[in-house]
């Protein structure tokens, strides 16, 4: 990487990560194209605000990568992200660690979610379990009572709601990608 503004370099790293699933020729080409663009659009000594303005205009790296994908792959990808969420939440409740690990691997391979969303997905089940643990220690004296049942239910509902939201994002983005572009 030649002289790039730190934020531009970060953007490029993000693009590199997201373009991993593209065929190698397209991947190399788009990385070089965007790097050349950024090296001209953002001077290395530009202010962070200026750099951010340019990067905002560039759009989300995912859009760039989506523009290079062919359709059958996209459908496949959305399906895999779905499977990831199923493994993570439903599977984790039944088979625990094994299912959760598969879910996490699939999730991080997904091209439809941002890094932040992937972390949310990863921490969903452990988070719900932890929340439940903390709560159930508090109510240990009173034993398995209604409060504890409510806490379990609540933790599960929150986990399902978040997973549902991630699934919604995947569908939305999957459709956006599958739609014919100009």
């Amino acid at each position: 990487m030649s002289d790039l503004h730190p934020l531009a370099a970060e953007y490029l790293r993000d693009l590199k990560r997201r373009s991993r699933l593209l065929p190698s020729a397209r991947r190399k080409e788009i990385r070089a194209d965007i790097e050349a663009h950024l090296s001209e659009a953002v001077r290395p000594d530009a202010s962070d605000e200026e750099a951010r303005a340019v990067l905002d205009r560039m759009g989300d790296p995912i859009e760039i990568v989506d523009g290079l994908r062919s359709r059958p792959v996209q459908v496949n990808m959305a399906g895999r992200t779905w499977a990831a969420l199923l493994f993570l939440v439903v599977g984790s409740a039944v088979f625990l660690a094994f299912s959760w690990i598969i879910g996490v691997i699939l999730l991080w391979k997904s091209v439809f979610l941002t890094v932040r969303e992937k972390w949310i997905g990863t921490l969903l089940t452990p988070g719900a379990m932890l929340a439940y643990r903390i709560w159930s220690v508090d109510t240990l004296d009173s034993g398995w009572d209604k409060l504890e049942f409510a806490a379990t239910l609540l933790a599960m509902l929150v986990a399902y709601a978040v997973a549902g939201y991630l699934a919604y994002l995947v569908i939305k983005r999957g459709r956006a990608v599958a739609a014919p572009s100009a």
Binding site: A32, I34, A36, A41, M58, G59, E63, I64, G67, A182
Partner: protein, 96 residues
């Protein structure tokens, strides 16, 4: 494609020209996948040229097939625009 009809241009130049038109480009980055597709469809060809400052630049130029496509697209577009103008009507239609 119309932007490189008269002379080859490089990516950054094309993006900047397109961004100059209000309401046309939402995400500048998506221009590159588009150029890449045109290249794969042999509608444009690329050539590396030295620049006075910095590394060589990739220039895009229309191919013969690209020119044909551009002409037929212009034709379709004018027909389409005329149709929309007359359907929508009103002041805008009459002005155009």
């Amino acid at each position: 494609m119309a932007l490189i009809e008269k002379e080859p241009r490089y990516g950054f130049e094309i993006v900047n020209l397109l961004s100059g038109y209000e309401g046309l480009v939402i995400s500048e980055g998506t221009i590159y996948p588009l150029l890449s597709r045109l290249n794969r469809e042999k509608l444009v060809e690329t050539e590396w040229r030295e620049s006075e400052s910095g590394p060589p630049r990739k220039y895009y130029d229309l191919t013969a097939a690209g020119r044909v496509r551009l002409f037929s697209f212009r034709d379709e577009w004018l027909t389409f625009r005329a149709a929309v103008d007359s359907v929508i009507g009103g002041e805008i239609g009459r002005e155009a």
